[in-house]
């Protein structure tokens, strides 16, 4: 396998080749850097390349492996990180023009853990400014400009982990790291046809990451298979003293495909007739039929009636305004691309403290409602997004009139969710479905994702920009 071919493969496939020295981490890093510089730049997926660090880490990996000190499946694998994770010696601009030259003295905890596992950081990846914390209405609301979907460059990669989704799909990196407050891992995973895990809230420490909403921010992997997401999450999960919300507990269960047989899965069907793309509906229903044929018990599930979207809006609006207060009061918020962002922070102040606490009380009810549901179901299944990738030129308030059916509730309750590809539209655009579990059931979600991917090949398709044929 050449380094170029290796970039197209999954981490699980290339790890044995790296270990047996059939694949050089140095050659792999060079191939990745070249593709990022060419294809990545043309997709607007890159915030900053990290060639010096990449070469240093790749050389170290090669020497250690040659000396018989293999660290594990991420050793020597090139990856990219969303540009809200601090990296020593490289700018960390949070996708925002006024913070373009911002830098930090230390690596974020996740970056440090990946370094310790031998992974090779090749790039900081593009993102929506401030991860959308002060609102945005165009795909171009980023210091990098709009990130293209490699399946159709006129389409948007989604946000806010735009570069992570695009770069992973286009095989520029072995895997990437994204973050989600409300939809920012799942939507880019669905639009770009990659596998992305939003972990249980608190499972991955956010030390050294930009804060948007302290009670809702999560960091997670985006990769080319559910199995790869599992490999990455095992490295980056775990308590860190720098993040008071990080959990000491680890998920139970196991991620093997066989473990998913016998799971009780509740299917959440939104009103396709009203708001959904019919091609998304068809692909999702086919995926449900496939899963029910794999020894999984599938039945319809109905979500409780609670105002999840309203609650999420209040919580995020208020916490983001507090998080970005220095940017707002300094006036530098006016340098953001999104014109309305400069006012959104101030608008949040029309919400009273009592309203915020009220939202957090309703949030508790939402948690309890999901907890009751998971007495009946091990996992929930739903389309990730009701639509395929939107056009870059579209106004997002129009194309995103309806969102992820489990997005607000799932994020408010801190539930893990895995988005995996489950089909394509006639125009060749990926369609994703999400597997949602109770807190700390991340491995169960990965297990079902792996079982599905063992029996389908949607996740093996690559866009034309990945260097191969579109399949």
């Amino acid at each position: 396998m050449t380094p170029q071919e290796a970039l197209d493969a999954t981490v699980a496939e290339i790890a044995p080749l790296i270990r047996s020295r059939q694949l050089s981490p140095v050659a792999l890093a060079e191939a990745s850097l070249h593709r990022l510089e060419t294809v990545g730049r043309s997709l607007n997926a890159v915030a900053t390349l990290t060639p010096e660090r990449a070469r240093e880490e790749a050389r170290a990996a090669e020497q250690e492996i040659a000396a018989g000190r293999y660290r594990g499946p991420l050793h020597g694998v090139p990856y990219g990180a969303k540009d809200l994770l601090a990296t020593r010696g490289t700018a960390t601009g949070w996708g925002a023009r006024p913070l373009r030259s911002q830098s930090f003295d230390e690596d974020a905890a996740v970056i440090q853990r990946l370094h310790d596992a031998g992974a090779v950081l090749v790039a900081k990846l593009a993102m929506i400014e401030l991860a959308g914390g002060l609102g945005y209405n165009t795909a171009a609301a980023s210091s990098s400009g709009a990130t293209s979907d490699p399946w159709d460059r006129a389409r948007w990669s989604c946000g806010s982990s735009s570069g992570s989704g695009s770069a992973t799909a286009a095989a520029l990196v072995g895997f990437s790291i994204g973050s989600e407050t409300w939809g920012s891992i799942l939507c880019p995973s669905a639009f770009n046809g990659v596998s992305g895990l939003r972990p249980t809230y608190g499972l991955v420490p956010r030390t050294g990451a930009m804060a948007l909403s302290w009670t809702m921010d999560k960091i997670g992997p985006m990769a080319r298979s559910a199995e790869d997401c599992g490999l990455v999450i095992e490295i980056i999960a775990g308590r860190d003293a720098g993040d008071p919300a990080s959990l000491a507990q680890t998920p139970g269960g196991d991620t093997t495909p066989a473990a998913a047989r016998g799971y009780r899965v509740g299917v959440v069907r939104p009103d396709f007739g009203k708001i959904y793309d019919r091609e998304v509906e068809a692909a999702f229903e086919e995926a449900v039929r496939t899963i029910s044929g794999l020894g999984v018990f599938v039945s319809d599930a109905k979500l409780p009636e609670l105002p999840c979207d309203e609650t999420a809006i209040i919580v995020i609006t208020v916490e983001a305004a507090a998080a970005f207060e220095p940017l707002i009061t300094s006036g530098r918020v006016r340098e953001l691309v999104e014109p309305a962002a400069k006012w959104a922070g101030d608008m949040a102040k029309s919400v009273s403290g009592v309203d915020y606490v009220r939202a957090m009380q309703v949030r508790r009810l939402i948690q309890q409602a999901f907890d009751a549901m998971f007495g009946t179901y091990d996992l929930l299944l739903s389309p990730t997004m009701p639509i395929v990738a939107a056009r870059i030129a579209d106004k997002l308030e129009t194309s995103f009139a309806y969102g992820d059916p489990l997005g607000s509730g799932g994020n408010l309750a801190g539930l893990p969710a895995l988005s995996i590809p489950c089909g394509f539209s006639r125009a060749g655009l990926p369609i994703g479905m999400q597997i949602v579990g109770a807190p700390l059931s991340d491995r169960e979600a990965l297990s079902l994702g792996r079982l599905y991917q063992e029996n389908t090949d949607w996740h093996r398709r690559r866009p034309p920009t990945a260097g191969g044929k579109a399949r």
Binding site: C308, T317, I328, G331, R332, W343, D346, V362, A401
Partner: protein, 85 residues
């Protein structure tokens, strides 16, 4: 969960409002000496602001109508920093 507010409405809510000048007393934090003065709002912007604030307050109002038992613990997390072992 129910979707009593659409994403479109949410987007409008979060994106449509030049809110600051309707609440001039809110901006009391430290300001960089180099920060330019806040530009005046046009009449159209002021209307947008009023609408956006009204929508956000309406959203908060909907949550006030949810039956929450008195004394319900909000979904905050606080842990004291314990002595190191």
């Amino acid at each position: 969960m129910s979707r009593r507010i659409t994403r479109r409405a949410a987007a409008r809510l979060l994106l449509s409002g030049p809110a600051a000048l309707a609440m001039p007393d809110l901006l009391v934090g430290k300001t960089s000496p180099k920060a330019p003065a806040r530009p005046a709002l046009s009449a159209a912007e002021r209307r947008q602001l009023d609408k956006s604030v009204a929508q956000l307050r309406e959203t908060a109002g909907k949550l006030r109508k949810v039956a929450v038992p008195m004394g319900s613990e909000p979904a905050f997390v606080f842990q004291p920093i314990l002595p190191k072992e």
